[in-house]
Symmetry: C2
Subunit: 320 residues, 2 copies
């Protein structure tokens, strides 16, 4: 496995593997386990009240002396409070997403925080560089949760972003194996952010019902929905069927919002209501059939990456 | 560049690079140029009357003594006639798509033809193996033209198909560079089928208007539409806007068919009507800014692949 490259140096981590800070999944347990195993764990602030976030940050500090960070979507309702807590608690790394990187990056950088921003287009990757971000995450259509409107896949997005910025580049979306990591590196990434595989770990705080369901998913069992509101990749469910039916008859955004109501992601992913909850997971779930400890996942990723590189490099040496 | 692997041996080609047999783009000129350059050229029968197909096959035979093949979508209206011509003219390779591989594979195999089938799901990859196909093409959501309903991306589909079949595996969708080829190989493919990059070649029979437009595309400029009828990735256009508007108000399949009319792909891709035509191209077009001869494209792909492997293998050797 690659070590000591720009991503490793930037975050002071052993392997350029980041665990996404996912709502309802990425608490202090998952983040610290990944950091302890040599990657970068991220706490998912998107589903936490500010004081809950503070609590997770402190528990994470107690569980690991390695670097960890916080992921916070820029749509977070109490941004100023959360940012203040992040600064007060001296969190060294922040990943932001779903918004304009220019809004908070300067403040975070002024406090010595390393900042990465998640984008779904090369246009926003350029904004990252202009905003002074330290790294950019290029996340493709296949990723779980909130997605970009362009629907650009990881295979197409990573090279496009690589072409427009020289920032340290992290690929996300559809990566759950060492082979996937190797593919991302081939495309020009220097690190990877992995969501689904870590959402389906023992330390993930998601409900067991949700985890078990995700282990049964096949291709086509996730869908990008709510494109009028905010495109989100979710597992098919009764709630989803109602939403898709409404969308198909041309229901306006307000009606869809009503249908969705509040707290659906919590209901599904955290409380385990598989029929009425919103269940965010990536397409790559169809290749995952086992819940594992995060440390085992890390080991597996590293082993698979090395095996993939051996295979590719050997066959390249043997060429006529 | 990898040579002499299972795909090379199967098709008797130097490099495991196949040029997709695309409607309106892949005539004898493109197919023979790719085969001359060491890849596998495919004639796109989907947009040809049977006797036009025969003509292209014969011109291709005159232009190259290397292996070439024909791609024929199983929805082709005069399948029996086309298959008869393919057999009569002793075409050695046939790629089929958009249908059940069990229908024609046995007949083609009985005539000593090497058969590959394009799938968009691991479920259909299994059907390929059961049908006796010699190879399977796993084509992701990002590919131009007709797509699967599951919307599975290349990053997710290739590993899934690799898991269910030991058939020689070709990846397609989102590959237009040597880096993309390396990524596909990392994911478990042994060869690649490249569409968009060759659609935008000098030898491609598509209209110059279409080629020029595709060179200006950015991320998000293609869309998967007509999901009720047959999901197709096309460039945004006035025609497309009308179709999307109709889809958004819940127009039934029949009405969409009326709106689409006949001959839209020919109108757009072959006759150059960019507003009223249907323009099929892949997402990866956003990374392509130059029309090139097919031979130059092949050289570029090989050079980029080797550079990518050098980079990956060197950084792997340097690991701590």
């Amino acid at each position: 496995m690659i070590q000591d490259n720009r991503i490793c140096q930037l975050f002071n981590i052993r392997y350029p593997i980041i665990a996404g800070g996912m709502v309802w999944c990425s608490g202090w347990r998952l983040a610290s386990a990944v950091s302890e195993a040599g990657g970068l764990g991220l706490i998912g602030a998107g589903s936490m009240h500010p004081e809950t976030l503070r609590e997770h940050i402190n528990k994470c500090k107690n569980a690991t002396t390695n670097t960890f960070g916080v992921n916070i979507p820029l749509l977070y309702p109490e941004m100023e409070t959360a940012i203040r807590i992040i600064i007060e608690e001296k969190v060294p790394v922040v990943f932001t997403s779903a918004g304009n990187p220019k809004t908070w990056t300067p403040l975070l950088k002024n406090h010595g925080i390393t900042v990465a921003h998640v984008v779904s287009s090369s246009k926003f990757a350029i904004k990252c560089e202009e905003a002074g971000a330290d790294a950019v995450v290029a996340e493709g259509f296949e990723a779980g949760g909130h997605n970009g409107r362009e629907e650009t896949t990881t295979m197409c997005l990573v090279p496009a972003v690589r072409n427009v910025t020289s920032l340290p580049l992290i690929a996300a979306g559809g990566i759950a194996s060492g082979a996937g990591i190797a593919a991302a590196m081939a495309l020009g990434a220097e690190g990877v952010q992995i969501g689904t595989r870590f959402a389906l770990s023992e330390e993930s705080s998601a409900h067991d019902n949700f985890k078990s369901l995700c282990l049964t998913l096949n291709e086509g069992d996730t869908r990008l929905v709510l494109k009028q509101l905010a495109p989100t990749r979710v597992v098919k469910s009764r709630l989803l069927d109602r939403i898709l039916a409404a969308e198909a008859t041309g229901a306006p955004a307000d009606e869809l919002k009503q249908l969705l109501g509040k707290g659906r992601a919590k209901k599904g992913m955290f409380e385990g209501d598989l029929e009425e909850g919103e269940l965010e997971i990536g397409q790559i779930a169809s290749t995952i059939r086992q819940i594992l400890p995060a440390a085992d996942i890390m080991q597996q990723l590293i082993k698979e990456y090395d095996a993939t590189l051996s295979r590719l490099c050997d066959s390249n040496r043997r060429k006529v």
